[in-house]
């Protein structure tokens, strides 16, 4: 009897509460069905950079440019004329904002691959960007390819990266091969248009993938430019304690021009050692920003003058494009540090990736890939002095263009191509 009563009471209770329970169930169901749409409010992009270890400084500076790009896109600079700055967020995705997930790959290809895997599977990023080191980009691009996630690199230059025909790798920066050619064109211009006599070239490069590739790329152009001869191709170990033997070899070979591929630390070490031993070729040219970087100028003061860096970007190009001045000022204000070429390229890489995500109107990796393949950015929308951004079938930007920048009075000045020059080239290089 008592049991009976109990059952009936529960049943009666249930009847009374049924509408309420149904309502709760509906709300829960509604909430879960709404959540994918809510997921589009935020687009997650994974950035992999070396934030500890030997090149932590460059990694930090580069990632900062990407953080700045994210701030611009997310509407923190509504007065700017940069893409996305005014609406704030991606109009193609109902104003979705970018969320940047960062990881430190420590310059290690293995750690880079593991971090990329983790970002894709656990943090559900829709695209990856990075990685400064080409050696790390090599493994990260493999992970991206396997997981079918777009991977953008704005600054990893080793040619083979885009020679493998990967479908998910896109690169805005020119390859080492593209860049090596600029050196020969520049030197030929010097000989023909400025009556200089440059004949012998020594190549000095660090020994990770980037430096090695550059050395090989340089060697490959001597046939196309037969007026030049190579007297040495010296590869040195990155992170070395001294470079006396390398410099002594250069002194004994007396090259007209030295062409460098070095990171910040050894660039400083080489420059100091050149000065000590009074090594004075007609010119010292370099790929990458190391010989014109802020760190280099801070460390060497007046001795940092007159090195020539084949650059993608320079502050003094601001006159040709107001966007450059804007971004440089934002970077300076935000990080209390002058922007240089590598952060500028990474910024462009990020803007290009986000442009594609916006046009895709979706966070589906395949849609983003398709949009990237259709990318065709006009020069006026870029902060780079390129003819545009357009990828070939291998994912390589075909519209890049190089400039030569010389440090004059502690400031980088564009000196070549001669028709774009903002200052007069100092050649031969005055003594340190």
């Amino acid at each position: 009897m008592e049991q009976h009563l109990g059952v009936r009471m529960v049943a009666g209770d249930l009847c009374r509460k049924l509408p309420l329970l149904l309502g709760v169930a509906l709300i829960i169901a509604g909430a879960t069905s709404v959540s994918p749409a809510r997921g589009q409010d935020v687009v997650r992009i994974g950035a992999l950079y070396p934030l500890s270890g030997a090149v932590a400084k460059s990694g930090e500076d580069t990632l900062n440019a990407i953080r700045l790009a994210v701030d611009v896109i997310n509407g923190k600079y509504p007065d700017s004329n940069l893409p996305f700055a005014k609406p704030g967020g991606l109009p193609g995705l109902k104003g979705a904002k970018i969320e940047l997930i960062t990881a430190d790959h420590q310059g290690s290809p293995e750690i880079g691959a593991a971090e990329a895997e983790r970002m894709i599977t656990q943090q559900k990023v829709v695209a990856l960007i990075g990685t400064f080191h080409s050696s790390v980009a090599l493994t990260v691009s493999q992970v991206a390819e396997r997981n079918e996630i777009p991977f953008m690199t704005g600054e990893s230059e080793a040619t083979p990266l885009t020679e493998r025909g990967y479908k998910w790798l896109f690169r805005t920066t020119p390859t080492s091969l593209n860049q090596a050619r600029d050196f020969f064109v520049f030197l030929r211009d010097l000989n023909t248009k400025r009556d200089q006599k440059v004949k012998t070239i020594a190549i000095v490069h660090e020994n990770t993938l980037w430096g090695q590739e550059f050395g090989t790329a340089m060697e490959s152009y001597f046939k196309e430019f037969p007026e030049f001869t190579m007297v040495a191709n010296i590869g040195y170990q990155q992170g070395t304690t001294d470079v006396t033997s390398e410099v002594q070899r250069l002194i004994s070979l007396k090259p007209d021009v030295v062409v460098h591929a070095s990171y910040d630390a050894e660039a400083i070490l080489f420059a100091k050692t050149y000065k000590q031993y009074n090594f004075a070729p007609q010119g010292i040219l370099a790929i990458g920003a190391a010989f014109g970087s802020t760190a280099f100028r801070n460390a060497l003061k007046d001795d940092a003058n007159f090195f020539l860096v084949r650059e993608h970007w320079s502050l003094d190009l601001a006159g040709t494009n107001p966007l450059i001045a804007q971004v440089a000022k934002m970077y300076q204000d935000k990080y209390n540090k002058a922007m240089d070429g590598t952060p500028a390229r990474s910024f462009q890489g990020m803007m290009t990736l986000v442009d594609a995500i916006n046009r895709a109107g979706s966070t589906e990796p395949a849609a983003i890939q398709k949009a990237l393949q259709q990318t065709d950015l006009p020069p006026a929308s870029l902060i780079m002095p390129w003819e545009g951004v357009k990828f070939d079938a291998k994912g390589q930007n075909t519209k890049t263009r190089g400039i030569f920048v010389q440090t004059i009075n502690g400031k980088p000045a564009t000196v070549w191509p001669f028709e774009m020059a903002q200052s007069k080239l100092n050649w031969p290089k005055p003594a340190m």
Partner: protein
């Protein structure tokens, strides 16, 4: 030309060799007396380089002026590290000792990066700027000073260890700890002294290096790897061994960098090291 070049290379190699030696001597001293490999040794170098740089950048003090202060401060720092950290793990298992100094290394590197950032700093002008020309040979002043300082420091340390009372006590502890204890030598104080002296040596090396090498959080790792090999090559715990090995390493790497290729610069050095480990495991001048 060839003779001049050879002398030039030899001199450059010697300069680097003395620096390697001075860094390695501290390692050898701590190992010899306390029986511990200090994995944070390179970070001690880094700290003294930052100290020298800061004195220059903030106070305008030349590295030569700061050198004695840095050495004394590092002496104190080494003793503090011994009493605060190392004494607690001395009786413990070997891996506890290794992890203690290894942990200190990671901590100091991370702290330096936190405080100073990852930037490269360097002293752009000092009393020792410039070069000396003798015949056709170029002698960069900072390197000569570094070599001279390193040599002086090594000789001084050698004299201290072999000619003074506390030095004899140090050696006694290093040779037979129990016998030294029964003779009334305070082994604990000798351990602290060894840490202090080793840190002071690396302090001098750091100050001298600052004249021509830049400082950044991982600068210690660049030099200390060479220092480990130097110590192993010279014989663990041997001061004179570390000096000889340092000089061999410095000269050998410059010579092979010039005559072989730059990439293979350290290959003969490590080959020599392998040979010593295989055929004379106690090192060139090490005890049995």
């Amino acid at each position: 030309m060839t003779v001049e070049l050879l002398i030039q290379l030899l001199v450059s190699g010697l300069g680097m060799g003395f620096i390697f030696a001075l860094i390695a001597i501290g390692l050898a001293l701590i190992y010899g007396v306390v029986g511990v490999v200090n994995f944070a040794h390179g970070e001690f170098l880094m700290v003294s380089m930052y100290a020298t740089y800061l004195a220059f950048a903030l106070g305008g003090l030349d590295p030569l002026v700061t050198l004695p202060f840095v050495a004394v401060a590092m002496f104190g720092f080494g003793i503090a590290v011994y009493y605060v950290l190392m004494r607690r793990v001395l009786g413990a298992a070997l891996h506890a000792q290794i992890f203690a100094t290894f942990g200190l290394m990671v901590f100091m590197q991370a702290a330096a990066q936190f405080i100073f950032g990852a930037d490269y700093f360097s002293i752009d002008h000092s009393l020792l700027s410039g070069v000396l020309h003798i015949g056709g040979i170029t002698l960069p002043m900072p390197q000569i000073a570094a070599a001279a300082g390193a040599l002086l420091c090594t000789v001084g340390l050698y004299a201290f260890v072999f000619r003074t009372g506390p030095g004899r006590a140090l050696r006694a502890v290093s040779q037979d700890r129990v016998a030294a204890l029964t003779m009334g030598i305070d082994a604990d104080r000798m351990n602290a002294l060894a840490w202090g002296l080793a840190s002071a040596c690396v302090g001098v090396a750091g100050s001298l290096l600052s004249n021509f090498y830049y400082v950044f959080p991982r600068v210690g790792a660049v030099f200390v790897l060479v220092a480990y090999v130097t110590v192993a090559l010279g014989g663990f715990g041997s001061i004179s061994g570390a000096l000889v090995a340092g000089i061999i390493m410095g000269v050998l790497q410059v010579m092979s960098g010039f005559f072989l290729t730059s990439t293979l610069k350290f290959v003969p050095v490590y080959l020599l090291y392998l040979g010593v480990v295989l055929f004379r495991p106690r090192g060139l001048l090490g005890r049995q």
